[in-house]
């Protein structure tokens, strides 16, 4: 998810989010893509569909390598794998971990605990309301809440680096709750991903 977010243009953000919401709720990927592309502008659809591109490769290009059934997909790119989700969302002025974030955090905790050589950064973010320095502290508090939960689940403190961007790096532009809810977040950023 992180990789996608950094690449996408403003117009594709809601579409991407929708894509993931739909992915979470639907059974088959094909159906999801159809629905998502209906919501996505033509120019945005190539980027928007990237997470599923490996699955579609054989459909689109004749020269694509044939997919072997037993090929293991990169868990960080596989939309059906929780590791592909690297953003945790928060309520207004809150750093409490929401129930809906627990499975994702646990999945990363399991991965990190069994891959202790992997280091990562937790980036805290806030929506634009309130002041910049307060939001910077709030973002740090959010990232730290995720850090604590990861450590409680076996991750070594030495693997984690915490930073905060406060309100400076919104994921979505906008001055309403739909944008704000996407911006109150902590992102797990793995090196080289």
């Amino acid at each position: 998810m992180m990789k996608v977010i950094t690449r996408m243009t403003l117009a594709t953000v809601p579409a991407i989010f929708l894509l993931f919401v739909l992915l979470a709720g639907c059974g088959t990927t094909g159906e999801v893509e159809d629905q998502a592309s209906a919501e996505t502008s033509a120019s945005a659809s190539t980027e928007a569909s990237e997470p599923a591109s490996t699955e579609r490769a054989d459909d689109q290009t004749a020269t694509a390598e044939p997919m072997e059934p037993q090929t293991q997909m990169d868990p960080f790119e596989d939309p059906n794998n929780l590791l592909s989700q690297r953003v945790v969302y928060f309520d207004f002025d809150s750093s409490a971990i929401r129930d809906d974030a627990l499975p994702v955090i646990r999945a990363h905790a399991d991965y990190l605990a069994s891959n202790s050589q992997v280091n990562f950064t937790l980036e805290g973010h806030a929506d634009e309301r309130g002041t910049r320095e307060y939001n910077l502290a709030l973002g740090e508090r959010r990232a730290d809440a995720v850090r604590r939960l990861l450590i409680a689940n076996g991750v070594s403190p030495a693997q984690v680096r915490v930073v905060s961007y406060g309100e400076e790096r919104p994921a979505v532009l906008g001055h309403d709750e739909s944008a704000w809810s996407m911006n109150r977040r902590a992102e797990l950023v793995y090196a080289n991903r």
């Binding site: 309301r129 309130g130 002041t131 307060y134 740090e140 406060g166 400076e168 532009l173 001055h175």
Partner: protein, 450 residues
Amino acid sequence: MENTSTQFTKAPAARIRKPVVISSVLLILLALTAGAYAKPLTITITQGIEAALPIAVVPFRVSGAVPPSEDLAQIVSNDLVRTGQFKAFPVKDMLSKPTDPATIKYQNWRILGVESLVIGQVENTGPDNYTISFWLQDVFQAKQMVAYKIPATSKTLRAAAHKISDIVYEQLTGVKGAFSTRIAYVTAEGDFREKRYSLWIADSDGENAQEILRSKEPIMSPSWSPDGKRIAYASLEQGGAQKVYIQNWQTTEREQVKTPLSGLHGAPSWSPKGDKLAFTITKNGNADIYTLHLKTQKMRKLTTHWAIDTEPVWTPDGGSIIFTSDRGGRPQLYRVAADGGKPRRLTFEGRENLKAAVSPDGKMIAMVHDSGNGNGYQIATMELDSGAMQILTEGRLDESPSFAPNGSMIIYATTGRRGELAAVSVDGKIKQSLSYQEDVREPAWSPFNN
């Protein structure tokens, strides 16, 4: 001030941009472009007062071989009009354009409703030397209020004009003028995922903007040293880790404020004496306020609370620090003695109050205020004695209030089509907008004497 011609031997107007010395430290991370000039901020009055004083600033007489590159009378006129407290009589409607007090026909100016008259001369006295003479005349009493001579070079002509504005303003309003001051602000350009941030210092009229820092990571919370020579600010340039830096804005040399503690360092604020810095260190989900003596490096932890304590600001007597804390559930303002003690809550009105600025006389604070009725965040003031609160602005995301050093105006950040600056008089009657071609934010008004 005396009604005699006074030589401006100590005129700080002589402040010019010195040749830039680029510190090698700076070159490592940041593409420095000190000396680069951007389009200035454009300042317009969006709300003035009806009783604005009618004044005429007559174009100055120019003599000598090298005429001045600046129209001093125009600069003075613009300065005064920009305050919203003056209306300038149009030059094209002037019946005469006196440049010597002896030739003023006061009756003509009375008929035109002009109450005050500024006249002057600029004499080129050497290769790059000018002598500026000006007179401020009371039209109805037909007498001189003040007269001064100011020496200048081509590079200090604008500063000399602001000095004239300061004198005229103080004579006519009783309040010290703040035209010879500067503002610091941060701009952000480019796509919202790949912004480029710059820290600027500009004259109070938005001119002479000088970029002193450029970074791909956010820059915030500029704070002026009391002598106006240095700026402390927070920057995320170290891989997103917020750290505090102190920079001499003229030489652009700077250093990081280092402490024995890891964690994010932000929200710097200079003590009134200039010997200490207050700032926030955030670690493990907890933000607390510290003070650091810059010479002795002695550090003091001022707050110890699980809540977010941040945005410290000193009172002018140096005795206490006002800060933002959410220890009561929502962010509100608290006050603590600068040498430690139990913080006391200052604000009770409204859902949230954040980021205080203290007026130069220490009697009032400005803050970011959320009344809780769904209107977002505005700038409000509160008298510290009475607790009387007044909301001064109407934006939805107004923030970063900073007082002019004469206490007359508050500059702040607001949002229109993009981030803009605005200023409002402390009584809320006069409003200015300061726009720029890109996002602009985090304004900080310099002290006097810089």
